[in-house]
Structure formats: structure tokens, C-alpha cells
């Protein structure tokens, strides 16, 4: 698979690799995908009292585009409110990384990951997602 330079850059120098303590109430964890499908993304966000994402970490099992999509996502969500981060679209990621059509599902997975991380944080903070979404 011949990748564009942005995918290669994120793949060679992934940003924000690592893990936070899942039990910490300020942390939201999203784990999406399945090993059988060839990609699993774990995305974690640290959220401050104002609902702003201060930091993000990821670990990804998957192809180069899956790693690049999640790496890019950790950069994008930093400094965003949960609402803003929840609005990131897979198409934005695919466009930024110039993913080939066969790899679009990697960007979909990244979008799912941030949504799952936000939902996890809200659940832990005792906030119903539907209230926030309204």
C-alpha cells in the first residue's frame, strides 16, 4: 500500500502514544474495533472541570492508516470541548491524511473511538449523554 506523506509521518512518529488510568474519573476511554477485523483502537482523553480535553493518548493495533488516524485524532481533540470533539467527522480525518478509499474505514473507527471516549467520560461523570446532546 503506497501511503501519502502524512500517514507515513504519523506512522513513523506517532503522537501521544500511551495510556491513562482508566479508573481516574477525569479520564474517558474508548476502545473500538475487533482483533478479528484487524484493527483495535484505544483512545483516552483527560477532561478538565470546564469540559475541555486537556490531553489525549492512544494505542492502536492495525494498519498504517489506523495508527495514523488515531494519532492525528489525539492532536485534534486536545484543547477542544467535548462537544467540539464529538463533532469531528471521519471525512475530515480521511481528507487530512489523504486516505485511499479502501482505508476509509480506519477514519470511521477513529470517529467511533472519540465518540466512545466521550460517552465513557460522561457516563463516569454521571451525566446522561442525551442531556448533553440536547
Amino acid at each position: 500500500m503506497a501511503y501519502g506523506s502524512k500517514v507515513l509521518d504519523h506512522y513513523e512518529n506517532p503522537r501521544n502514544v500511551g495510556s491513562f488510568d482508566k479508573a481516574d474519573p477525569s479520564i474517558g476511554t474508548g476502545m473500538v474495533g475487533a482483533p478479528a477485523c484487524g484493527d483495535v483502537m484505544k483512545l483516552q482523553i483527560r477532561v478538565n472541570d470546564d469540559g475541555v480535553i486537556e490531553e489525549a493518548r492512544f494505542k492502536t493495533y492495525g494498519c498504517g492508516s489506523a495508527i495514523a488516524s488515531s494519532s492525528l485524532l489525539t492532536e485534534w481533540v486536545k484543547g477542544k470541548t467535548l462537544e467540539q470533539a464529538g463533532q469531528i467527522k471521519n471525512t475530515d480525518i480521511a481528507e487530512e491524511l489523504a486516505l485511499p478509499p479502501v482505508k476509509i474505514h480506519c477514519s470511521v473507527l477513529a470517529e467511533d473511538a472519540i465518540k466512545a471516549a466521550i460517552a465513557d467520560y460522561r457516563k463516569k461523570a454521571g451525566k446522561d449523554e442525551s442531556v448533553d446532546a440536547a
Binding site: 506512522y11 482483533p35 478479528a36 484487524g38 484493527d39 493495533y61 494498519c63
Partner: protein, 404 residues
């Protein structure tokens, strides 16, 4: 840019310089460029002589009679000619064919076509080591079975099927026995009589010959009949029409002659390299060899590095030219059907890398590969949430994954 180390000899091989040199003599005005079918002048006679010499060299490698060799464009065409040729010729005798799930697509896609034409095909599951259980084969045979096709050596995992034993089961029943020997020719001894095969597909480019040329062995005693798939001037005793590509044929002949001559020494050398590669990787945790290790061609090592996805590993190994059973390296997004047929779970199929070594692989190449793999596997596992969970003692099979 320095070229990567080539470890994909099962995909194709470079033409041996000795072969290329010989081929060049059959192209230009100064050389023997004639049409081997031209009977009226020396140009044709010289070309024909070269073609027949090559035919004898190819026949010699598989202990066949030169008259039993039919030139084709490659193993895919040989497989097509064998399967469709037999099915269509013998269809009044029966319409059942038996093959194996781990066959090359040149077989599986051809049998699918035959199914569309009304033939019935049984696809046998191999055992977890990649080999065929002969009792299962015997059980699959029927009164109307006309053809059994089992590949000699698997292209992904390199395991060697016991063709002689299969031949002993198939032959007394009057069933025609075909094998695709694209991956075994020149690597392990082949004797068509000892193996009991009636049809055997060969390719030049896996044996340091040129691409675009192959052959089909067609047994003469007892005679196996085929319906031609390519019609025209009646070349190759009517089985495959088309002007013979003298330079290609000469290249295949020379390649097979060299392979025959050097096979024993080369096999021993490659086995040592393979053993070193495996030994060098054995201190990495969660590494699995795919397919039987003993009954395998010397140059093949197919391994799964658990918790690391194959395509990302191939990206990390850009200094190496290897292939993967990972879905992400295929257009279909399906992991290797060969590894799945062995019962390997999808994770391990996604994590597999095929190393195939050959004539120009050196000890230094292998040592470099070992070092590189240690470094890159470590890095990718640091990135892998599955590795983290494994290290934390989580049973990955107990996790409810959101399949997508």
C-alpha cells in the same frame, strides 16, 4: 535509495544472469529468432532444436518424458488447461472434482467456473498443520469423481503434501490426479511416476526463469486426454495452440537445468538460513509458525507475531521485501484464506508474515532481518492495545469486541 532485502522468492524470483544470457541469443537477427513451427528453413529448425532441448531439461527435472511437456504461459494457464481440459473431456464419465481449500486461486477460481458449468466440487479442509488428512480425501471420493487436484507445495506456508500417498489412493480408482507444482519445482525432488500424478503445472519465474512461460506435464502412459482451451495452429499436439515463445522457453529450460543441478546444495543452504532465522526470532514472545515446520520447503518461514497487525509490520519493515496474510495488504480486506483454512484465528492471520528465501539470500540478510524484527516488533507492540491487555493478563477472547 538502497533497495530492500528481497525475501519474497515465493512471489517471484529474479532471472538468473546465466538464464538471461542464454535467452538473449533467441531474439535478434543474429540469434535464432525463427518460428519453431517453420519447417522449411534453418531459422525454424534451429529454433525448434532449442525448444526441444529446453523441453528435455524441463522434463528431466520432474523425471518425465519430453513428449509429456506442453508449453503454456505459466502455472495459472497450466492449471486452467488441466482442470477445464479434463473436466470437459471426461464430463460424460462423471462431473465431480475434489480439491483443497488452501489451493492457489488459479485452482479455486477455475473450479468455481466449473461449478458454474454444472460440475460439483468438494473443497477439503487441511489439518491445522496445513497437510491433508488422507482418510478425509478417501471419504470424499465418489463413483463420479473424475479429478483430484492437490498442490504439491503451498505458496503461503510452504508445506509439502504427500502426493505419493495421495496418488496411491486416487490412481486405483481411475481418477485423474493433478498437482500444481509451481512452488515445489527446483526446490524439492519431483518424480512424476513416484508421485503418481497425471498432470503437473509448472512455472518458470519461481525457478529463476522468466515470467510468462510455464508448462503442463500430461501423462502419456496411460494417456490423459484434455480438451484444448486455446485453439489455433494445433501446436503442442493440439493441446495448446500459439506460436512458441522460443526465448521464454529456452529461459525456462536453462532455469530448470540449473535448478536440477544445484538443488541439493541450495536446499541445504536455504534450510540452514531458515533455521537461523527462526532461531533468531525465537526469543520474541508470542510468535507462531504457520504450517508444519518439518514437511516444508527449505526457504519458507511463515510466522505470526501476535498482537501486531501485518500491514503495519510490513510498513515498519520497509527495508525488507516480504508479504503478509493480513487483510490490509489485500484488496479484499479479508485475511489469508490459507491461514484461516488451517483454523488459525483471524488475529493470527492478520499478524502473519511470509519470509521466502532463495538463491541470492545471504547470511547477512538473515542476521539483518532478525535485528530489524526485534526492534520493530517491540515498537509496534508498545503501540498495541492488545499487547497491553495481554501483558495485564486480560484474556482477549473474553472481551466483547464491537465488530465492524
Amino acid at each position: 535509495m538502497r533497495k530492500p532485502i528481497y525475501l519474497d522468492y515465493s512471489a517471484t524470483t529474479p532471472v538468473d544472469p546465466r538464464v538471461a544470457q542464454v535467452m538473449c541469443r533467441y531474439l535478434t537477427m543474429e540469434g535464432d529468432f525463427g518460428n519453431p513451427a517453420s519447417r522449411s528453413h534453418a531459422f525454424g529448425w534451429e529454433a525448434e532444436k532449442a525448444v526441444e532441448r529446453a523441453r528435455a531439461d524441463v522434463a528431466a527435472l520432474i523425471h518425465a518424458d519430453p513428449k509429456e511437456i506442453v508449453w503454456t504461459s505459466g502455472a495459472t494457464e497450466s492449471d486452467n488447461l488441466a482442470l477445464k481440459g479434463v473436466a470437459r473431456f471426461y464430463q460424460n464419465k462423471g462431473r465431480h472434482i475434489v480439491t483443497v481449500k488452501t489451493e492457489h486461486k488459479a485452482i479455486l477460481d477455475t473450479t468455481r467456473q466449473l461449478e458454474r458449468e454444472g460440475f460439483e466440487v468438494t473443497y477439503l479442509d487441511p489439518e491445522p498443520d496445513g497437510l491433508l488428512d488422507l482418510d478425509k480425501l478417501t471419504a470424499a471420493l465418489r463413483k463420479d469423481t473424475i479429478l483430484v487436484s492437490v498442490m504439491h507445495v503451498n505458496n503461503e506456508i510452504g508445506v509439502i503434501q504427500d502426493l505419493a500417498a495421495i496418488g496411491r489412493i486416487v490412481k486405483p480408482r481411475g481418477i485423474i490426479f493433478h498437482t500444481d507444482a509451481a512452488q515445489s519445482a527446483g526446490k524439492i525432488p519431483i518424480d512424476v511416476n513416484a508421485l503418481g500424478v497425471d498432470l503437473l503445472s509448472l512455472s518458470a519465474h519461481k525457478v529463476y526463469g522468466p515470467k510468462g512461460i510455464g508448462a503442463l506435464y500430461v501423462r502419456r502412459k496411460p494417456r490423459v486426454r484434455l480438451e484444448a482451451q486455446m485453439h489455433g495452429g494445433g501446436h503442442e499436439r493440439g493441446m495448446r495452440s500459439g506460436t512458441l515463445a522460443t526465448h521464454q522457453i529456452v529461459g525456462m529450460g536453462e532455469a530448470f537445468r540449473l535448478a536440477h543441478e544445484e538443488m541439493d546444495a541450495e536446499a541445504a543452504r536455504l534450510k540452514t538460513l531458515r533455521e537461523r532465522l527462526l532461531e533468531g526470532l525465537s526469543d520474541i514472545e508470542e510468535v507462531y509458525v504457520n504450517g508444519d515446520l518439518e514437511r516444508r520447503i527449505p526457504g519458507n518461514l511463515n510466522i505470526s507475531f501476535n498482537f501486531v497487525e501485518g500491514e503495519s509490520l510490513i510498513m515498519a519493515l520497509k527495508e525488507l521485501a516480504v508479504s503478509s496474510g493480513s487483510a490490509c495488504t489485500s484488496a479484499s480486506l479479508e485475511p489469508s484464506y490459507v491461514l484461516r483454512a488451517l483454523g488459525r484465528n483471524d488475529e493470527l492471520a492478520h499478524s502473519s508474515i511470509r519470509f521466502t528465501m532463495g538463491r541470492f539470500t545471504t547470511e547477512e540478510d538473515v542476521e539483518y532481518t532478525i535485528r530489524l524484527l526485534h526492534e520493530k516488533i517491540g515498537r509496534l507492540r508498545e503501540l498495541s492495545p492488545l499487547w497491553e491487555m495481554y501483558k495485564d493478563g486480560v484474556d482477549l477472547n473474553s472481551v466483547q469486541w464491537a465488530a465492524h
